[in-house]
Amino acid sequence: MGLFSRRNVLAILLLLALIVPSFANAYQLFVGNLILIYVLLAIGLNVLVGYAGQLAFANAAMFGIGAYGTALLQVHLSWPFYLAFPAGALIAMAVGLMISLPALRLSGLYLALSTLAFAQFAQWVFLHWDTLTFGAGGFKSPPISFAPLPLSKPVGLYYLSLITTVCVTLFAQNVVASRIGRAFVAVRDSEIAAQSLGVDLLRYKALAFGISGFTAGLAGGLYSQLLNFVSPEGFDLFQMVIQKSTIVVGGLGSIAGSVLGAAAIVIILELLREVKGAQEVFFGAVLIFFVTFLRGGIVSVLQQRLRGWDEPLHGTRGTDAKSAPQLRLDEKESLP
């Protein structure tokens, strides 16, 4: 184990994250919190796309469903946040499981299309179901208080996000290192081979969609509190592109990569906040660049440069050239 092994780097990042509220100003704390939320999103998406290989575009919609679910349960049914937050995530997970049903029959491009259509449909519901979602203008979500604890709302929310993110990261690390993670990778690399080894496609695809839906829902609940406001605008295709950028930059099929990628992307996003056009050009270019020239993302560079970055099950694509020819055969079939 080198000094900069994966575990050490993540531990240092965690320590850093713990002390952020002691020196950061309000804006820096906001950005820190946003990074944590995007780490959640990136991990969920990476389990689905990077490990299980399902090319889905519905994550932004699940993020929205989590945000709307959490906030609307508080507004309409006046549930407390601590009930509404997990409930919102569970709703997003249920929707994720629902989407996984067509995914069983569809692969590659067809899955991309059906999930894109679903994402558009979800946004349409946010926009037009006025009586439930308050339409295009959005609505204020009631702010939470951490009353018995001596914490202001931003700091409290930051620590809540941090605890959630750490739990999800550990959970995801363990999932992908387990039998389930190996099954995901088997499904990604060849569905037929996976089936013949006794991997139940329905179960594992549903599981991947469920995990990604649940984490996106958690992220959405935290996001609604971070902004104190929910509107349909934040959950469009551009949101999806940002999330895809985080996992492509970090490294497809790497939990640590998701963390690094999310941090990098959010910081750049904030730097370019002034000009929406510049954000779009930049993230588009980032996607093209990483897919074309650096398929394994940041993590593949770290793996080459630093000892102790051995990431199990990561990088059968791009970084590990030897297994590429076998992949080709399989993927040719899923191309129309």
């Binding site: 056009g277 588009g284 899923s334």
Partner: protein, 293 residues
């Protein structure tokens, strides 16, 4: 009757436009196996190009039309050379992500050049905007112009594939890439040509659509997803299927908007896509599997 004919004509008009977008997608997919997720943005970009030529430089409409087609072809060729050439060997995930990325580069560029969010540029109509009544049927000349234009483009396109050398080369490659290499066809050039042709059709479609739909940087995605749906309905590999699919999407959208609720217009195509993909993906899949064997 009045409402029905109005909806049908409106649906047909948007249908042929979706069909043109779908044709661009199918041409690229047939010869390269890539679905270009940036097709909608190419469409939007060409529309803005034509606007610049027609409105800002004050050149005639046919010139703007040619400029959009030429601009589209050039954009297609450049994107192929810059991005897709090195991508030809990666998997579906990589290809989709890269073309989505390309789409956003174009969208952001258009937003920075031609105005901010919510800015709609109007494109002057080629015909008088007054509707004409024939019996109980109302006809909007601009729609007729778009329909006729689209028909001409489709015919020209069919002729291109049937009679020209470049068209024959592309068909040969789509049929059997290895065999066409053996007879001396450069696959790389065919790919470039396919991207160029696909984007050129998008350009032509954009000039026809612009007077009806106005121009805004986010317009591309709506046209893309409906064109994609049309292409999938037609089997993603068939040119005539793309046209039928486009008309179907356009008419369903228009009828849903007229008879159910105007809000339904935006969402009907997506429900149609999900329904088709969930209920009978085997029908669509079996079409292309049959080709592969």
């Amino acid at each position: 009757m009045l409402l029905f004919s109005y909806l049908l004509l409106g649906g047909l008009t948007s249908g042929v436009l979706y069909a043109l977008v779908a044709l661009g997608l199918v041409v690229v997919n047939k010869s390269t196996g890539i679905v270009n997720f940036a097709q909608g943005e190419l469409f939007m970009f060409c529309g803005f190009l034509a606007w610049t030529v027609h409105v800002q430089f004050g050149l005639a409409y046919p010139l703007a039309f040619l400029a959009a087609i030429a601009g589209g072809f050039l954009l297609g060729v450049v994107t192929d050379r810059v991005a897709f050439r090195s991508l030809a060997k990666t998997d579906v995930v990589g290809l989709v992500l890269a073309t989505v990325g390309l789409g956003f580069v174009l969208r952001g560029t258009a937003r920075m050049i031609w105005g901010g969010k919510g800015d709609y540029l109007s494109f002057p109509p080629i015909t008088s905007p007054e509707p004409v009544m024939i019996g109980t049927i109302m006809i909007i000349p601009q729609q007729m112009a778009a329909l006729a234009g689209a028909l001409v483009i489709m015919l020209a396109f069919a002729a291109f594939f049937k009679f020209t050398r470049a068209g024959k080369i592309m068909r040969a490659t789509a049929d059997n890439a290895k065999a066409s290499t053996l007879v001396g066809i450069s696959i790389q050039n065919v790919y470039t040509l396919a991207f160029g042709t696909g984007a050129a059709i998008a350009g032509a479609a954009a000039v026809l659509a612009a007077p009806l739909s106005l121009l805004y940087p986010d317009m591309g995605f709506a046209f893309f997803i409906k064109g994609f749906a049309a292409a999938v309905l037609g089997g993603l590999n068939s040119l005539s299927g793309a046209v039928v699919g486009g008309l179907l999407v356009g008419i369903v959208e228009s009828m849903a908007g007229g008879y159910i609720h105007s809000n339904m217009m935006e969402v009907a195509p997506f429900l149609l896509i999900m329904l088709v993909l969930i209920v009978c993906p085997t029908g669509i899949l079996s079409l292309y599997k049959a080709r592969d064997v």
